[in-house]
């Protein structure tokens, strides 16, 4: 699945005026850059599989360690954003799906579409400007207060703004799934049966319809993850959040290609793993799938 080209040569060193041509040649030998491209590529893939992702040119330690250090914060941010987006999206979706008033449905749709149209780097910057620079309610970024003992409350306080900003983008997506699901499930036999036994329309939909709507969301989760990671990358830069997005940005600026490739590989692996997990989870939650 991962067929990324080997990143550019370490010509960066040549840009250093103190580097003599001999030193550059030796450098190329050490990195194996004198070999033809396909040989380099084959060796890179082999080493990758063995867990050797090359060394960071900047931090002078294995790239895999550099990337691994940044994985936690990214997971924390994307997880929190997912929670925000999912809960708001399901709430709005239920509201739009259950309500029969066109005004409500309209309003919900407008809010959701506006939410997904705002670029996070802009809304993030505005939030920081208003609530951090002017009002000083929230910190300007980072994982926690520097120098202070890490506490859960402090971490949450730092997490809130970026998670809300990132999560707001995905509300519309979830809302749409829930609303469409509720609309279609309303015609289903089991909802009609529930109504026939005397349940009100709303209760029948929520008690019997909603679980069937929410279940497929598990698989959507895996499909949405790449977009979520894209969003997290910008959000991390805006909020100085030390995750893999900011690492990618920094490594690109510093031309630290082993780390650049490492972040992309980790992102792809994360998507693969989540997709596998969601498939398994779906099977566990919905017995019908197991026999398919």
């Amino acid at each position: 699945m991962v067929h990324l080209p080997k990143g550019g040569p370490a010509d960066v060193y040549a840009a250093d005026p103190s580097a003599t041509p001999e030193a550059i040649e030796r450098m190329k030998e050490i990195w194996g850059l004198d070999q033809p491209l396909h040989v380099q590529y084959a060796r890179w893939v082999t080493r990758l599989a063995q867990g050797d992702w090359g060394r960071s040119y900047v931090e002078r330690r294995p790239a895999i360690d550099v990337v691994a250090d940044r994985l936690g914060p990214t997971l924390r941010l994307t997880g929190a954003a997912l929670l925000v987006g999912l809960s708001a999206g399901v709430a709005l979706g239920v509201l739009a799906g259950v309500s029969r008033r066109p005004a409500v449905q309209h309003a919900v749709r407008v809010v959701a579409v506006l939410g997904m149209s705002v670029p996070t780097f802009w809304s993030g910057a505005i939030v920081l400007l208003v609530f951090s620079s002017y009002l000083r309610w929230i910190p300007a970024g980072g994982l926690g207060t520097i120098g202070a003992a890490p506490t859960a409350l402090d971490a949450l306080w730092h997490l809130a703004a970026p998670a809300l900003v990132l999560g707001s983008v995905y509300v519309a997506q979830w809302m749409r799934y829930v609303q469409a699901g509720l609309d279609s499930v309303a015609e289903d036999d089991f909802v009609r049966t529930a109504r026939a036994k005397g349940l009100g329309r709303v209760r029948a939909l929520l008690r019997h319809g909603l679980p069937n709507v929410l279940l497929p969301l598990v698989t959507v989760l895996g499909l949405e993850l790449p977009r979520l990671l894209s969003g997290a990358m910008v959000t991390e830069v805006v909020f100085s959040w030390p995750g893999i997005g900011r690492l990618l940005h920094g490594s690109l600026v510093a031309r630290d290609y082993p780390v650049v490739l490492g972040t992309l590989i980790v992102a792809a692996l994360a998507v693969l793993i989540v997709n596998l997990l969601t498939d398994l989870l779906y099977g566990a939650l919905d017995p019908r799938v197991r026999y398919a």
Binding site: R109, V113, S117, L129, P226, S230, G245, L248
Partner: protein
């Protein structure tokens, strides 16, 4: 396409009107811009919005309104170019894959899945940093990472369309596959593709502006809306209008595209994208 159904959707119509106005403003930028977008005026640095400079000036005394208009040309042109390219690549690949099946299908589907499982922005950042793009390379880069959604939809359409009786009839007449595919089947898949293309344009707009904001887009002085936000980053606190207006322009454009796409989808009876 059911135009009546589309016209009954106020949000979609409003979105379309906004898009047309933005397009006209971008086209007319050289004539309606009050100043030269790159003219530096050191006596008028960081002026807040007022009578002379409606949207204020930036750190070099350049008029924000003029820069916004010219940036709009770049941003809209890029979004349009990328969408056209991505739709072209995506439809052709998806159509061929869905129609012929076999190893072509497997190859295209593999590429689609691989690209869809990577964060688009990350790929674009890498390409942008390696290539130092101009307008057209940037468009190609963005198109190369955005076509998979289109190819997936087209492929799915082809899988059902190729079993229809008129496809069979065309084949029975002895028409070559290429003609059956592009003259008889693809035109019937256009409706969902238009919806998908509109929503893709909104996505492209967001990715492009994020890319430019991070500094991987086009080099200054040519501004795009995202690039203006990037340039202004250091001055947000002193000159908040530098942060507000370009972001607002992006949001309005993307929202307009999303509303139009939404309305198109609804007017086609919920089919597609």
């Amino acid at each position: 396409m059911r135009w009546r159904a589309f016209l009954r959707q106020p949000l979609g119509v409003a979105g379309a009107v906004v898009l047309v106005l933005l397009g006209l403003a971008a086209l007319a930028a050289p004539w309606i811009a009050p100043f030269d977008p790159n003219a530096i005026d050191l006596r008028a640095m960081q002026r807040s919005p007022g009578a002379a400079h409606w949207l204020g000036t930036d750190d070099l005394g350049r008029d924000v309104l003029a820069r916004m208009l010219f940036a709009g040309r770049i941003s809209l042109l890029l979004a349009l170019a990328v969408t056209v390219l991505a739709v072209g690549i995506g439809t052709v690949l998806g159509a061929v894959a869905g129609f012929f099946g076999g190893w072509v299908d497997r190859l295209v589907s593999l590429a689609t899945d691989a690209l869809l499982s990577l964060p688009v922005l990350g790929l674009a950042m890498v390409a942008g940093s390696v290539l130092r793009p101009n307008l057209w390379t940037l468009a190609v880069v963005l198109a190369l990472v955005s076509w998979p959604t289109l190819s997936r939809i087209t492929r799915a359409q082809m899988l059902t369309l190729r079993e229809r009786t008129y496809a069979e009839a065309a084949r029975a007449l002895g028409l070559p596959s290429r003609r059956v595919l592009f003259r008889h089947l693809l035109p019937n898949a256009v409706a969902p593709l238009i919806v998908a293309a509109t929503l893709l344009a909104a996505q492209v707009m967001l990715v492009e502006s994020a890319l430019s904001f991070l500094g991987y887009g086009m080099r200054p002085p040519t501004p795009s809306w995202g690039g203006m936000l990037n340039e202004a980053q250091a001055f947000y606190r002193q000159s908040p209008w530098l942060a507000v207006f370009p972001g607002l322009a992006i949001t309005v454009t993307v929202a307009a595209l999303n509303f139009v796409g939404d309305a198109l989808r609804a007017s086609m009876g919920g089919r597609g994208g």
